[in-house]
Symmetry: C2
Subunit: 141 residues, 2 copies
């Protein structure tokens, strides 16, 4: 094998490869459990713990992004460049939003706090196309 470059000591296992491939194949921002469902179609015996462990490791090594957006579950994203998100308050779906990243607000923030600023994230709330049309379905999606 060998297709992706992993941090030292991190082995390239089938499980890792498939998890990354499946995550990269969607533009949604799946939860760990959704990734588990996708991966299980190819590796039926994989454990949920393995999925959690690897998503966590990949996020730590910068291979993927762990999104700490609203809602009860964490979500994951194979697109690692900084970008903002929007969450539908009706169905919970999370989409990317194509908006220039306001890097200058890190500087503004730096002068407004004694924290050492590392980064920022913007999350919009709104109602998505599907939920907004068709007589306000309470939450069909």
């Amino acid at each position: 094998m060998e297709m992706i470059d992993l941090p030292p000591k991190m082995r390239l296992t089938t499980q890792r490869q498939v998890i990354l491939e499946e995550l990269a194949s969607v533009t949604s921002h799946p939860t760990a459990n959704e990734v588990y469902d996708m991966v299980r179609r190819r590796l039926p015996r994989i454990g949920l713990g393995t999925v959690y462990r690897n998503l966590e490791l990949m996020a730590e090594s910068g291979l993927i992004l762990k999104l700490e957006v609203g809602g009860t579950q964490k979500r994951f994203d194979a697109t690692t460049d900084l970008h903002y998100h929007i969450r539908c308050t009706a169905c919970g779906k999370v989409d990317d939003i194509k908006l220039p990243v306001q890097q200058e607000i890190n500087k503004m923030a730096a002068s407004a706090t004694d924290y050492q600023i590392l980064s920022h994230h913007v999350e919009f709330s709104g109602v998505c196309g599907s939920c907004g049309s068709a007589a306000e379905p309470s939450s069909i999606n």
Copy 2:
């Protein structure tokens, strides 16, 4: 009694009053469990479920804010006007950050998506004063 105006049908109970008072007495952004601990000093027999139920109700009625920031627990804030937050990646503490709210980015977002924009929130990540000084304590706080 009677001190705060509640939505119709919502009764003013001792528990609600104390929860709101305790939350308003701090500038931190306590988790439900931290609110429970504070309230329990005055109402030792209150149940954790009651605290959760009431924080949820108050958030729905706009009396308080439920913060869906990073980390594993939701946090609550008695200051309801829109403002941004910063979270310490070392100790998990969440502070307000005094930065003018960029209302115009809602308009920018509106033209970049088909969602109907309701609001936005900015969360900074950084290292707080206590964690930043003193030879990088891994997470003493």
